[in-house]
């Protein structure tokens, strides 16, 4: 059973739970202590050892239900249903009490008395499990057989049939089939009974594989998709995948936030704190050997995000803003501005609405044909005075100004005031000097510029911001 548990942990890992070997050991010991009989208790216990946040807890509970659905005998209900509506093969006369207790149906018992092979078959642990309707034993058998058959390797759904055959073989279904053949030959009345057991077995195996497929293949396919998403051009991400990409952004942000978590205190960096030192010294005869220092107050990083939301760049802006707002723990003071032909501050939108909705609203209000000159003018009016020497200004846009006045002087003003001006351009570097792009001119007033068109690049740039903002 420990092997099953380790398999489960493997699956949790594919669902982004970070589980260390030490925690796996805890889980195994917890399972030993709690036993497998009480499913709820086992779930609660494993949950305390494996899931360490609220999110992980939800994931855990979902996976647990999928994975241990079969293994822990929680299918008494399905078995009841089955008994109420006997399968087609079981059209035999009533009174067959296959489901209740260990008693062998009369016809089968008789067949066993006549044929030693049938008797032997009935003694096998597989048949015993089926006869007694002992679903714990049966599911244990199935899960062991599936391990031998390597079911964990299942990747695509067309493999289901193949695995089903392998598992049935590992379970010793052959013997059961031989028994049926023998009964057919002797035209025994027990034939229908035995067939019915075979069908139950097959059904169980099929259900088990379906569940395992969901659990094993799903997680891995998920990882593949995410890997792909993080490399796809943001404007090419299909609507159906946007949600998942946003989820991915959230996770990336979380990772970065953990890495660049603010250090709240800076020791012994400031001046000597005379008052505290004196009062400390009072206890020691006025000797001031215990020096106290004033703490340095650090300014929180200030970030201005200026995003072009005209048609071609809008999808990128969405992701950049989403990313920044997911980092609120580390960057609590993000002010965001969006522009196309006019620029406006949208910080409040983000305060009032959930991130996705705010982005849509911002898009809606300020979309149009791009005019960088006017946008910089608006920014200067709105916020230039607030840009302090510690500020980071991130500009996202393609710098295509429709041959308008670029107003480089305004960008230079920002450049002189801020700590860093970062320009993110979704176009590739090669096209920066083509057509109506003012990129090269703007570059002269940026500390740093980067091509930024997929999530991976975005993550890298934001990490830069965090490094410098601290």
């Amino acid at each position: 059973m420990a092997a099953g548990l380790l398999g489960f942990i493997d699956i949790l890992r594919t669902h982004h739970l970070r589980i260390s070997p030490a925690e796996s050991l805890d889980a195994v010991r917890a399972a030993e202590l709690l036993g497998y009989a009480n499913r709820e208790r086992l779930r609660d216990g494993l949950c305390t050892t494996l899931a360490k946040t609220a999110d992980e807890r939800t994931t855990f509970l979902r996976c647990f239900d999928q994975y241990f659905r079969r293994e822990l005998g929680d299918f008494s209900q399905t078995s009841d249903e089955r008994e109420q509506q006997p399968p087609n093969a079981g059209g035999a006369p009533g009174g067959l009490s296959a489901g209740s207790g260990a008693d062998v149906p009369e016809a089968l018992a008789q067949a066993a008395r006549q044929d030693p092979r049938i008797d032997q078959l009935l003694q096998s642990s597989l048949m015993q499990a089926l006869l007694r309707n002992d679903r714990n034993l049966l599911s244990l058998n199935i899960s062991q057989a599936s391990e031998r058959a390597g079911l964990q390797q299942i990747r695509i759904f067309t493999q289901k049939g193949q695995y089903s055959r392998r598992i049935l073989a590992a379970l010793g279904e052959e013997q059961l089939r031989a028994g049926i053949v023998a009964l057919e030959r002797s035209e025994s009345p027990a034939l229908d009974d035995l067939r019915r057991y075979r069908d139950i077995l097959r059904e169980q195996v099929r259900d088990f594989i379906d569940g395992q497929y969901l659990v094993h293949a799903h997680g891995r396919n998920q990882q593949l998709i995410e890997d792909m998403l993080s490399r796809t051009r943001l404007s090419n991400i299909e609507a159906a995948y946007v949600e998942r990409a946003q989820e991915l952004v959230r996770r990336m942000a979380k990772k970065l936030a953990a890495r660049y978590a603010p250090r709240r205190r800076d020791h012994r960096r400031g001046q000597l704190d005379m008052r505290k030192t004196l009062s400390r010294g009072a206890a020691h005869d006025g000797l001031m050997f215990d020096l106290r220092w004033r703490r340095v107050r650090r300014e929180r990083p200030q970030v201005f995000a200026i995003c072009d939301v005209s048609g071609s760049v809008a999808p990128y802006a969405k992701f950049l803003l989403l990313f920044l707002y997911c980092l609120q723990e580390v960057l609590p003071r993000v002010r965001s501005f969006v522009f196309a032909n006019r620029l406006g501050e949208v910080t409040n939108l983000f305060r009032e609405y959930p991130v996705e909705q705010a982005i849509e609203l911002a898009n809606h209000t300020y979309g149009g044909a791009t005019d960088y000159g006017a946008a910089f003018q608006d920014f200067a009016n709105l916020a230039l005075d607030d840009v302090r020497s510690s500020a980071t200004v991130i500009i996202l846009g393609d710098a295509r100004n429709n041959h308008g006045e670029p107003r480089l002087d305004l960008l230079q003003k920002i450049y002189r005031r801020a700590n860093r001006v970062i320009w993110l351009n979704p176009e590739s570097r090669n096209s920066w000097k083509t057509g109506d792009s003012e990129m090269l001119r703007y570059l002269s007033a940026c500390h740093f510029s980067a091509e930024c068109n997929n999530l991976r690049q975005l993550e890298r740039v934001i990490e830069q911001v965090l490094k410098n903002a601290r």
Binding site: R41, C47, K52, R264
Partner: protein, 313 residues
């Protein structure tokens, strides 16, 4: 703590029953977590909305075990001097002064400097010794002979540095004091950490703990809690008020009423001799349940609907 010394924690049912006797009604997942923590000798990190009985859990466990409860309230700026140990500086100073006076006697008859130093080395160096050590909660918990329940309350309020300090204690139940060496726990204490999630705790800390999330209780559980805490209250009223509180928790409020507020409310309804909930009564006592003006205003409009759902008028 030796497992065999505490049969109260022998299995999950016994824990739940033991808690109930003391008046702490808990869900099975809580009892399971306590059981595992005890058996695996691991700390429990308890999270959940405020007022669901996180701190109470530690207190109750201490009561059940009849072990001392040692509590460390965390805050920003908490450091090892307040949490772990401190030297008794003034006594150390006095000691050096005493030593200075005695020095002449001790070194009397020493032939030269080398011999004096030799003699000095012969006395035990007690300047940094246990005698001058002032144990703070964490070290005190390590030193309890029959074990203790250590409650590290609101660990999310402390600094990252402090979290790192906890790691050694939580994984090995020992404390390293540079001047003395490593102090191991006489008997493993049972450790509870509580967090309100004002910030994410580090992975390293989480890895060392079992994680228990206490949600708001189910209707059935909360009724049992109210019955245990306010036994005088009429059954019908109890049912109504718990249903009403559950209705409130469905609303989008700044702060949802917690168990402690349900209990307070039940007590005050009892004082008011209320027999059942009606709109006027609820409006008059709503400030016991809700702590923000916005929430009260928002709920005010919903009172009728919520009451209707409780089977009142």
């Amino acid at each position: 703590m030796r497992i065999e010394d505490y049969p109260q924690l022998g299995d999950v049912e016994r824990i739940a029953a033991g808690f109930e006797e003391i008046g702490y009604i808990c869900s099975e997942s809580i009892a399971t977590a306590v059981f595992l923590a005890f058996q695996l000798r691991k700390p429990i990190l308890v999270e959940g909305p405020p007022g669901v009985g996180k701190t109470e859990l530690a207190k109750t466990t201490a009561e059940l075990l009849q072990a001392p409860l040692i509590r460390l309230q965390c805050y920003e700026g908490l450091d090892e001097g307040k949490a772990l140990y401190e030297w008794k500086y003034s006594k150390q100073l006095l000691y050096t002064q005493v030593l200075k006076e005695k020095l002449g006697d001790l070194l009397h008859g020493a032939y030269d400097l080398a011999e004096s130093v030799e003699r000095l080395h012969q006395f035990g160096d007690i300047f940094y010794s246990e005698e001058f050590l002032e144990p703070r909660p964490l070290l005190r918990a390590m030193r309890q002979e029959r074990g203790a329940v250590l409650l590290i309350d609101e660990v999310d309020k402390s600094d990252y540095e402090f979290e790192a300090l906890l790691l050694e204690i939580l994984s090995d139940y020992q404390v390293s004091i540079p001047e003395i060496g490593t102090v191991s726990a006489q008997s493993t204490p049972m450790v509870f950490l509580t967090s309100n999630n004002t910030r994410d705790l580090s992975d390293a800390l989480k890895r060392r703990c079992l994680h228990l999330y206490i949600p708001f209780p189910s209707v059935e559980l909360e009724e049992r809690i109210v019955r245990s805490r306010v036994p005088e209250i009429d059954e019908r009223l109890r049912r109504q008020l718990v249903a009403f509180v559950h209705g409130l928790r469905e609303l989008d409020l700044k702060k949802h009423p917690a168990i402690s507020e349900t209990i307070d409310w039940a007590r005050s309804l009892l004082l008011l001799h209320a027999e059942q909930l009606d709109e006027a009564l609820v409006r008059a006592t709503l400030n016991l349940l809700l702590k923000f003006e916005d929430d009260i205003q928002m709920t005010d409009a919903e009172v009728g609907r919520l009451l209707h759902g409780t089977g009142g008028d």
